[in-house]
């Protein structure tokens, strides 16, 4: 009775103290900040992408995206994102498998921090490091040449599509390790024991338990890598100088002022186009994520 009263009273005070501020008003700073610095820029961007030079409404900015070089840039960007996401996803899951099964907790945490740096290294330093290793005068290039394999004998250059794929893998694989590891760690020992008790061998266990459980996590990670690779700017900017037509780079050039005067709003349309592509990928991510979480809730 007495305890109940105290509990009631304390709950009452909590409610009262927070009720002054309830109805979301304490969240105002957050909503105002996000509204002004995230939502408002995007809405303005979308509006301006539908405006012509005379401020009239038009769809004309989007027409160049549907064919020719701008369309091609989207194709190349999507191709680059898919290939590097696939390489990252496959090699990344292999590393995760090894880490989860062999590394101790301390080593795993060090690996985590290293992966976090590598995954976020999609910047300028990365480009120069690869030039040092795989450029025409690169250390590794020279080593391979000395053992009789000239990687520059064919069409390869670091500043080509293949070169960019190579460099992007450098941050896609560690990102996959960070994203996919919890899924593999979430596999319960009981599941493998149960299936072995039911007479499964390890192949059946993988085919009927592990792969179905991990597929949604794998797909969601793939979509996330795709969105990251699709939007990446810094590395490609430092490396390619326009040799590979990628949408973010083209937008960058437009922003830097090399614009044909009647195409000022083209950059806006391209930027909205990027949101659409990344948005589709992230919807895939969210859907796959929802399925993956089913196993984690229990």
């Amino acid at each position: 009775m007495k305890n109940g009263a105290v509990a009631n009273q304390s709950e009452g005070t909590i409610r009262r103290s927070f009720s002054i501020s309830t109805k979301s008003s304490p969240l105002f700073p957050f909503f105002i900040f996000v509204g002004f610095f995230l939502i408002w820029p995007i809405i303005s961007l979308i509006i301006r992408s539908f405006k012509g030079n005379e401020n009239e409404w038009t769809f004309a900015n989007y027409l160049p995206l549907l064919h020719g070089s701008y369309f091609h840039a989207f194709v190349v960007s999507i191709k680059l994102a898919s290939i590097t996401a696939l390489i990252g996803a496959i090699l990344g899951s292999f590393f995760v498998y090894v880490i989860v099964n062999s590394a101790g907790p301390k080593f795993t945490s060090v690996l985590d921090s290293i992966c976090a740096v590598f995954a976020n290294s999609g910047g300028v330093p990365l480009a120069f490091m690869f030039i040092a290793a795989f450029g025409t005068e690169g250390l590794f290039t020279k080593f391979l040449k000395s053992v009789g394999w000239d990687i520059y004998a064919g069409n390869f250059t670091l500043f080509s599509f293949t070169g960019v794929v190579l460099v992007y893998s450098f941050f896609q694989i560690p990102l996959m390790i960070l994203v996919f590891k919890p899924a593999l760690q979430g596999l319960r020992k009981e599941w493998s024991e149960a299936s072995i008790n039911l007479g499964a061998n390890s192949i059946t266990y993988w085919r009927h338990v592990v792969i179905p459980i991990l597929t949604p996590s794998f797909l969601s990670a793939f979509f996330l890598l795709f969105a990251g690779g699709f939007s990446a700017y810094a590395t490609a900017r430092a490396m390619t100088v326009g040799t590979v037509p990628l949408v973010p780079i083209i937008i960058g050039t437009l922003v830097d002022g090399n614009v044909i005067s009647n195409q000022t709003n083209l950059g806006d349309a391209l930027a909205v186009g990027m949101i659409v592509v990344a948005g589709v990928a992230m919807s895939g991510y969210l859907i796959a994520q929802r399925r993956a979480n089913r196993w984690r809730a229990a």
Binding site: L27, N120, F128, A132
Partner: protein, 264 residues
């Protein structure tokens, strides 16, 4: 006993692959960065060149300053928000959850163009506008870090205890809740700090100069110097992250591993 032959084989394969993909570029870049004049012999001249460059110290300072500011702003904005969402405003969580994933959906390039279109002159005229956008870019990571760390604490009991002892709710937040999610807060702080330090895209598209964008300019004059610069930034970042993660492990709530949960 624990390591069967096939296991040793996979570990060896993984190590070889990791060395090939991740260590080689680093080693090659390090070797180049210690080359002497004209690429002959070995010396520290590239690093000396680096430090003597006009922009080196000033741009590094700018970047550090922006990173500290965005880390702090992130905490001021997100700690109360995340705490309130856990205590009294649970209904708003789905909305905030969704908003906080938006920066992952919207390419930074698009956000940069949008910022150019929409920001008032007074904001665009100061390099401190970057702080706001760094906070936005770090939002998915910091919010999830705080959220995970708040979920692991029995907030209801803590708040009730503190309130029934007569504490004001501001006292409750500052003296009870904040200390109990210290790990999450340090994690969030350093995540946004690290992200801001290396941010290139929005900085360059909004035509500001920080350490990463200055790197590109410096690279045009001296490729060996640029490689030294890359090694410097990269090794610096790795060391920073390792220090943070060991600190965080000691404080039990890991910071770096929260990145996984952002996405997981």
């Amino acid at each position: 006993m624990r390591f069967s032959p096939s296991k040793i084989a996979t570990i060896t394969l993984a190590t070889l692959l990791a060395v090939l993909i991740f260590l080689l570029p680093l080693v090659a870049a390090s070797e180049y960065s210690f080359r002497g004049a004209g690429g002959k012999g070995h010396s520290f001249i590239n690093y000396q060149w680096l430090v003597q460059q006009d922009g080196f110290a000033s741009h590094l300072l700018t970047s550090l300053q922006l990173a500290v500011l965005s880390g702090l702003l992130n905490l001021i904005l997100m700690v109360p928000t995340a705490v309130l969402l856990h205590i009294s405003l649970k209904r708003w969580r789905p909305i905030v959850d969704f908003i906080c994933i938006l920066p992952l959906i919207i390419p930074v390039v698009s956000l940069a163009i949008g910022a150019q279109v929409s920001m008032p002159k007074i904001v665009q005229n100061s390099q401190y506008e970057l702080v706001f956008f760094f906070v936005i870019i770090a939002l998915p990571f910091t919010y999830r870090t705080l959220d995970t760390s708040l979920s692991s604490v029995d907030l209801k009991t803590l708040v009730e205890a503190s309130r029934s002892l007569g504490a004001h709710w501001i006292t409750t937040i500052v003296r009870v809740i904040v200390p109990s999610i210290k790990g999450g807060i340090t994690g969030a702080l350093f995540l946004s700090f690290a992200l801001s330090l290396g941010e290139f895209t929005i900085t360059s598209l909004l035509h500001w100069d920080t350490f990463p964008t200055w790197t590109v300019v410096a690279a045009q004059q001296n490729i060996l110097g640029a490689i030294a610069l890359s090694v410097f930034s990269f090794v610096g970042a790795v060391l920073l992250m390792i220090i943070i993660s060991t600190l965080a492990v000691r404080k039990r709530s890991a910071s770096i591993s929260h990145i996984e949960e952002v996405i997981a």
